[in-house]
C-alpha cells in the first residue's frame, strides 16, 4: 500500500515530529500516573471509581445472560445427582439435628454465663446483598465489582461475605457500584486467628489462588486443617468471620485455602457492623451512620 500524498513535503516531517512528541509525552504521562497512584491513592482511586460507576449499568446487563446460563448448567447438574444428593442430605440432616440440639443448649448456657459476667453484647450486623457484575480476578489484581454502591448503603471498609465465608473488603464505592478487594489480592492483609489455638496472624494475599499466613508469634503451632477466622483487630473486619483452612504447612510458608470459591462469586453480602475501620476517612464517616439494609438485587430500590 502506498503512502497517501495529501500532505505537502514540508508538513510531513513536522507532523511526524509532533506525533512522536505526543507519543513520548503519553508514555511519560502513563509513568507519572503510576507514580501518582503509588503516592496519592485518593485522587487516582476517585478517577477509577467514576470510571467503574459509569460502566456499571453496561456490566450489569452483560453479566446477566452468563449468570442465567450458569444457573441453567448448575440446575441440569443438580438434576443428574438428585438421588445421591437426597441420600446424602438425609444423612446430613440427621447429623445436623443433633448439632442443633447441642447448639441450642450451648447458646442458652452462653447467654446465662454472659449475663453473669456482664459481657457487653456485640452489635448485630445489617447487610446489603449485591450481584457481582465484573470479575477482575486476573493476574494483575484480584477484585470484583458489585452492583450496589453508596446509595444502597455500601461504605468503604465493609466486609463482603457469602454463606461460605469471607470474600474481601470494599475498597471503592461509587454511587451505584462498589469494588470489593478479594482476600487473595496482593494488597489484602487481614488480621486473623488460627482457631483451635487462638494464635494471631496476618493473612496476606499474593494474587495467587491461596493467600498465606505471616507474622505468627514465635513458637506457634499450626497444623493442616486448622480453621482461620477474622480476629477483629485493627477494626476493619468484625471478629469471627469464617475465612478458610490451613491447607499446607511447609517451606513455602503457611497456605490458606479460602472457604469461598472466589472464582464463582455471584452474589455477595456486604456487612455493616457499624465499624469505623482504619481505612475510612473521617469526613466520610460522618454521614455514614444511616446505612440501611436494602436488597440491591433488582438495582435501585
Amino acid at each position: 500500500m502506498k503512502e497517501p500524498h495529501s500532505f505537502s513535503r514540508v508538513a510531513q516531517p513536522i507532523r511526524n515530529f509532533a506525533q512522536r512528541f505526543a507519543y513520548v509525552g503519553l508514555v511519560v504521562a502513563a509513568f507519572a500516573l503510576m507514580m501518582l497512584a503509588k503516592v496519592d491513592t485518593i485522587l487516582v482511586e476517585r478517577a477509577r471509581t467514576h470510571m467503574t460507576d459509569a460502566v456499571a449499568p453496561i456490566l450489569d446487563v452483560l453479566s446477566r445472560p452468563l449468570d442465567t446460563v450458569n444457573q441453567g448448567i448448575a440446575e441440569v447438574q443438580a438434576m443428574r445427582n438428585l438421588y445421591e444428593d437426597n441420600a446424602q442430605l438425609r444423612e446430613e440432616r440427621t447429623r445436623l439435628l443433633h448439632w442443633k440440639a447441642v447448639a441450642e443448649k450451648l447458646e442458652a448456657e452462653n447467654r446465662v454465663l454472659k449475663e453473669q459476667l456482664n459481657v457487653i453484647p456485640e452489635r448485630e450486623a445489617s447487610f446489603v446483598t449485591a450481584r457481582v457484575i465484573a470479575d477482575t480476578g486476573g493476574a494483575f489484581s484480584q477484585s470484583v465489582i458489585v452492583n450496589a454502591g453508596a446509595r444502597d448503603g455500601v461504605r468503604k471498609g465493609q466486609a463482603a461475605v457469602t454463606a461460605d465465608g469471607l470474600v474481601g473488603r470494599v475498597i471503592d464505592v461509587g454511587s451505584r457500584s462498589a469494588r470489593v478487594l478479594l482476600l487473595t489480592d496482593i494488597n489484602a492483609k487481614i488480621p486473623v486467628l488460627i482457631d483451635p489455638t487462638r494464635t494471631r496472624a496476618i493473612m496476606a494475599g499474593t494474587n495467587q489462588a491461596r493467600p498465606r499466613l505471616s507474622w505468627l508469634p514465635p513458637g506457634a503451632v499450626v497444623a493442616v486443617g486448622d480453621s482461620i477466622v477474622t480476629s477483629g483487630h485493627a477494626g476493619v473486619f468484625p471478629p469471627g468471620l469464617r475465612v478458610g483452612q490451613v491447607s499446607a504447612v511447609g517451606e513455602g510458608g503457611l497456605i490458606v485455602q479460602p472457604y469461598v470459591d472466589l472464582s464463582r462469586l455471584e452474589y455477595v453480602r456486604i456487612l455493616n457492623f457499624g465499624m469505623s475501620g482504619i481505612l475510612q476517612l473521617p469526613q466520610r464517616a460522618a454521614g455514614n451512620s444511616d446505612a440501611k439494609t436494602r436488597k440491591a438485587r433488582g438495582g435501585r430500590p
Binding site: M1, L26, V27, L33, M51, A134, F140, V144, N207, L265
Partner: protein, 171 residues
C-alpha cells in the same frame, strides 16, 4: 467533489469503530464467567486489538486513544493506574517502529510478531507490577495469560479483518 455531511459523518463513525471495538473488549474482559480459575488466565483482548489496528489502520488507533484504552483497562480491572496505558503504548510503539516489516506480510508472520511483542509486553508488565508492589511477583499467572492471549489472537485478528473489509474499505 466534496463528500456530503452525511457521508462524512458515516466515514467518521466507521473510523471510530476500531477504538470503540477495543473499548468493548475491555468491558467483555471483565464480565464474570464463573468458570473456576479462568479469570486468572483470561486473555488480554485489548492487547490483540491494539496490535492489530496499529498494523492495519494505524491512523485509526492514534496514541492518545491507546493511552485512554489502557487507562480504561486499568480502571476496570483494578490494576495500578497507568500500567496498561504504558504497556499498550509500548506495544503500539514497537509495531509502528516495525511497521514496514509487518505491512503486507502473511497472517502467520503477524501471529509470530504478536507472540514476540506480547512476550515483551508480558515481561514489561511483570517488571512494572513487581516495581509497583515492591515485591517479586509470581509470574505463573501472567505467563499463562500471555499464552492464552497468543492463542486467542487468530480468532480476533480474523474478526477484525472481516470488520475491516466490511466497514473500513475507504482506506
Amino acid at each position: 467533489m466534496r463528500p456530503s455531511f452525511w457521508q462524512r459523518l458515516d466515514t467518521l463513525a466507521r473510523n471510530l469503530t476500531p477504538v470503540a471495538l477495543t473499548l468493548v473488549l475491555v468491558i467483555l474482559n471483565v464480565v464474570p464467567t464463573h468458570v473456576p480459575g479462568i479469570a486468572r488466565v483470561l486473555p488480554v483482548l485489548p492487547l490483540i486489538a491494539v496490535f492489530h489496528w496499529s498494523i492495519h489502520r494505524p491512523h485509526l488507533m492514534p496514541a492518545p486513544a491507546v493511552f485512554l484504552i489502557g487507562l480504561f483497562q486499568d480502571g476496570l480491572t483494578g490494576a495500578p493506574m497507568g500500567l496498561h496505558a504504558l504497556i499498550f503504548l509500548a506495544v503500539q510503539g514497537v509495531v509502528l517502529f516495525q511497521h514496514k516489516f509487518f505491512m503486507g506480510k502473511s497472517f502467520f508472520i503477524h501471529w509470530l510478531g504478536f507472540g514476540l511483542v506480547g512476550a515483551g509486553a508480558t515481561a514489561l508488565s511483570w517488571v512494572l507490577l513487581s516495581a509497583f508492589h515492591v515485591t517479586l511477583f509470581a509470574a505463573d499467572a501472567i505467563a499463562f495469560q500471555y499464552v492464552m492471549t497468543v492463542a486467542a489472537f487468530p480468532l480476533f485478528a480474523f474478526l477484525f479483518s472481516r470488520w475491516q473489509q466490511a466497514f473500513l474499505k475507504a482506506d
